[in-house]
């Protein structure tokens, strides 16, 4: 899997003298560095929720993570390169997670395993749930699934290896950690009345001021939602009972509108039937 391909190494723009062929390989530092890094990714031994069971399953007998040089799961963040967020991140837990992330030495990667870590998953609206770890940490690879099968996780890990292969030491956007000095640590969230991201302090303060002035708080300041645009349509449809489709409407959208109207009509009919007592 992670064999260094010698023929690839020699095909560079610098010709290798004949007598040195087979003894000498020329490559770029990036390539060599990436190869060694991606072949010994050590994940943090760190399970959060149900997805962790599949992660352990991936590491265990049948699927065997060590085929990818990743079997050395470290208990300490100081020794690990990869943080697999394997499960639901709660507000209470995100504090230690960010702390652990800060303790990992660079280069470091984060993988969001499963629906919960990627975006909240089935528990998204829970009052103690962080809807996706990417609200706090930069994520390199998302693995969908609830839980992702071990095969999916392996695929994600291979995707991460590919990503590393493509990174260049020269490009600071790609790999911030080869710049000057260590990066700024991620600010650690605070558990107040609700979880507080220090990066949003300003916004919270402004909102609090608005609340004092009696203006709508938090939920009021919204970008226009498709739902809102649909409101008048709904009433109109009720009155005329036939969906109005504007002539200039895009056909896909029109089709969707029509389906929606039909579904609404069905629901109303059902409700009416239920009210009548049947």
């Amino acid at each position: 899997m992670s064999q260094l391909d010698l023929s690839e190494l020699q095909s560079t723009e610098f010709p290798v003298p004949d007598e040195l062929q087979g003894n000498l390989a020329i490559t770029s530092i990036s390539k060599l560095y990436n190869w060694s890094r991606r072949s010994s990714m050590w994940p943090l031994l760190f399970g959060l929720a149900c997805c962790a069971i599949e992660m352990i399953g991936t590491a265990a007998s049948r699927f065997d993570l060590s085929r990818f040089g990743m079997e050395v799961m470290r208990g300490s963040p100081r020794q690990s390169d990869l943080m697999i967020i394997s499960g639901t991140v709660t507000k209470k837990m995100v504090v230690p997670i960010v702390r652990l992330y800060n303790q990992m030495p660079e280069p470091k990667y984060v993988m969001a395993m499963g629906a919960c870590a990627s975006g909240g998953g089935p528990f998204k609206e829970g009052y103690n749930v962080v809807s996706g770890i990417d609200k706090y940490l930069p994520v390199d690879v998302y693995v969908p699934g609830c839980p992702p099968t071990p095969q999916a996780l392996l695929y994600g890990l291979i995707a991460l290896q590919k990503k590393i292969d493509g990174q260049s030491l020269a490009n600071m956007d790609d790999v911030p950690w080869y710049g000057v000095g260590p990066a700024e640590p991620t600010p650690i969230p605070v558990l107040g009345p609700d979880i507080i991201d220090p990066r949003q302090m300003d916004l919270i303060r402004r909102q609090a001021q608005m609340a004092v002035q009696g203006k709508q708080f938090a939920v009021g300041e919204l970008p226009a939602l498709p739902e809102k645009k649909a409101e008048p349509k709904k009433v109109e449809a009720k009155a005329t009972a036939a969906p109005e489709v504007a002539a200039d409407m895009d056909p896909v959208k029109a089709e969707r509108m029509k389906k929606r109207e039909e579904a609404l009509a069905r629901k109303r009919a059902r409700e009416a039937a239920a009210e009548k007592g049947e």
């Binding site: 599949e54 049948r62 609206e125 829970g126 809807s131 107040g192 916004l203 909102q207 609340a211």
Partner: protein, 618 residues
């Protein structure tokens, strides 16, 4: 008074209730609401009545204690208690009511120690003050959290509508991300009067001060030796806490003086979400409670709802085949869970990975069967009201798991028979030979983490933990459900109540499960072709009432307390959906079990309880 009355500890439930009403005519009344049962106890007399229930009537085991908020119905809050006798039989349900504004109910910790965590949970989520509780503070959320989230008038940041399905999604058809509606782009909401200047995280400080440990290092004088008292924090990120569990231990030298479990790191609001969901919606959520035994969780939940459905008109109970398949799945799940927990217990003892990898090999074979039947390895979402989701497949055919580049394909019944009669017994024999008499295992586990049987009952522990302490209490026998009465199996029990006994109980339980499974094979053959789900399956109409369904899950007694307030045409959402989680309540025993042992034993004791955090924190 010398007439031969039956022993009060042998009265059946209706006699018990009569006895109680006679003895406390002013304080005990029938719960007369439609669909509800048990008695309502005046809260000023609660402790006294509870004492009588325990001592005179013999209900020595408090299974579940939980709160319900009846806002909008009768505008009060209520604690619901389910007490059982460890000799078997149905529950005595009693309730205490309080008003919502100044919610206060006397604590029952003095009567049943097992009420400790459950009352703390009710305080945390409902804001009920339990007078007399020795350590009343938040348990799942952090100190300083805004409000009591399980109250019916508390809304989460992403709140959209009272019940699912949300109109915007269905039939609205609009897709939006909840983040777009929130200015912070996150699942947060702050109170209007938030004071950012004085914001600091106090939860850690309260945690430690709550232990009465203001100082980190103290000099202690013991046996002429000078030692330090040291406070050590384990977790929530720790390889041996089986998830995101945390313990704060104070040590005298190497000996444990106090241990305080800290949880809630995986509190994902199962119950709040469950009350927004429809009844059917909740089945896949139960998978994610004890994520090692999802089938067992399904089983408990469908049993609870079926109890309610049975009150309605159009209910048909599951067919015999459906029951057989349910038990088949439940017992396979038990094997899966015990293999896992034995493997990890040995891991905690320092036998790194080898026993666990061997056990996992067998577990994967069972998961293959689950995957072929239910469609998923782990989160099976398999049982339905009135049966199961699908019949067993003809063949197990899996393209995803290639072995030597070959697709595996087996006849299901042959696969099952081979697994039950050959593979697993062979494996157990080998595993037993290597481990049961193992010197190191015995040294590390015998007489360590002892839980005496009376304490085990008082602490409401359940499952292998309770049975390891010599109490032969298994819901499958004590309060049978499904087809267990006709099956032949034994309840393994321990003698000393130490870690070794728990290990052996689990080990024997795998054997007993295999015994059950062997009896199921001919039943499966006989019932071939029968329906596996009756009509209620997909459109349940749940009548008003309450129900408590419980099963013997691998980790212990898993109960679901469900209250329905929708009538046949009303909203089909549980008004209250409570999970009596064995892992959570078993942890009550962790502190007492660890006291006096060495710090290295803590992880083994924890491993021997066999917790899973999805269920502990919910």
């Amino acid at each position: 008074m010398a007439i031969a009355v039956p022993q009060t500890t042998e009265l059946d439930i209706s006699q018990t209730i009569d006895w109680l009403k006679q003895k406390y005519p002013d304080a005990v009344h029938d719960d007369t609401r439609q669909g509800f049962g048990g008695v309502v106890v005046d809260k000023s007399m609660l402790v006294e009545v509870a004492q009588a229930i325990r001592d005179d009537l013999g209900f020595d085991y408090l299974s579940s204690a939980t709160a319900v908020d009846y806002l909008g119905i009768s505008d009060h809050m209520e604690m619901v208690y389910h007490a059982y006798r460890t000799t078997g039989g149905p529950a005595l349900v009693f309730k205490a009511q309080t008003d919502r504004e100044k919610a206060e109910i006397p604590s029952l910790v003095d009567v049943w120690l097992g009420a400790d965590f459950q009352e703390r949970e009710a305080y945390d989520l409902y804001g009920i003050q339990f007078s007399g509780h020795p350590n009343l503070k938040r348990i799942l959320l952090w100190d300083g959290f805004n409000g009591y989230p399980m109250r019916k008038d508390w809304q989460e940041a992403y709140f959209e509508q009272e019940h699912k399905p949300f109109d915007s999604r269905w039939p609205g058809g609009w897709v939006h991300r909840a983040e777009e509606k929130n200015v912070y782009g996150k699942n947060v909401r702050y109170p209007d009067d938030i004071d950012l200047a004085r914001l600091s995280d106090t939860s850690e400080a309260t945690l430690y001060s709550g232990l009465g440990l203001g100082v980190d290092v103290q000099e202690l004088e013991s046996d002429g030796l000078q030692t330090d008292r040291l406070v050590v924090n384990l977790g929530p990120h720790h390889p041996s806490t089986h998830g995101v569990f945390r313990m704060i231990v104070s040590l005298n030298g190497e000996t444990i003086e106090t241990l305080e479990p800290v949880m809630g790191y995986l509190h994902r609001n199962h119950e709040k979400i469950g009350e927004r969901n429809s009844f059917l919606h909740n089945i896949p959520f139960t998978d994610r409670l004890d994520y090692l035994s999802s089938m067992g969780n399904n089983f408990g939940y469908v049993l609870a709802v079926e109890q309610l459905l049975a009150q309605g008109a159009r209910y048909q109970p599951p067919t015999y085949r459906a029951e057989v398949i349910r038990v088949l799945m439940a017992e396979l799940t038990r094997i899966v869970n015990h293999l896992w927990s034995l493997g990890f217990l040995l891991n905690d003892l320092g036998a790194f990975f080898t026993p666990m990898l061997y056990a996992n090999n067998e577990r994967e074979k069972i998961l293959d069967f689950f995957e072929a039947t239910a469609g998923s390895r782990l989160m099976c979402n398999y049982m339905r009201f009135g049966g199961v989701f699908a019949d067993l497949p003809e063949r197990i055919h899996s393209v995803a798991n290639l072995v030597n580049d070959k697709v595996r394909d087996y006849n299901t019944m042959e696969y099952l028979a081979q697994m039950i009669t050959e593979r697993l017994p062979r494996f157990l024999e080998e595993y037993g030979r290597l481990l049961v008499g193992n010197e190191i295992l015995r040294e590390r586990t015998i007489n360590v983490g002892v839980l005496p049987h009376d304490l085990a009952i008082a602490l409401s522990t359940c499952g292998p933990l309770l049975r390891g302490s010599g109490v032969a209490y298994d819901v499958r026998r004590a309060d049978p459900y499904s087809i267990y009465p006709e099956l032949d199996f034994d309840i393994p029990v321990g003698v000393n109540g130490d870690i070794y006994d728990r290990f052996m109980v689990r080990f024997q339980e795998i054997h007993e499960s295999l015994r059950i499974l062997k009896q199921l094979l001919p039943r499966l053959e006989q019932t071939k072709g029968e329906e596996v789900v009756t009509k209620v399956g997909h459109t349940p109409r749940v009548p008003v009432g309450e129900a408590y369904g419980r099963v013997e899950n691998p980790k212990g007694e898993l109960g679901f307390y469900v209250v329905s307030e929708g009538d046949e045409k009303g909203p089909q959402n549980p008004w209250r959906y409570h999970v009596r989680a064995p892992s959570f309540i078993n942890l009550t025993a962790l502190g007492p079990m660890c006291r006096g042992y060495k710090v290295a034993d803590v992880v083994t004791v924890l491993g021997s309880i066999d917790i899973v955090l999805g269920e502990t924190d919910r």
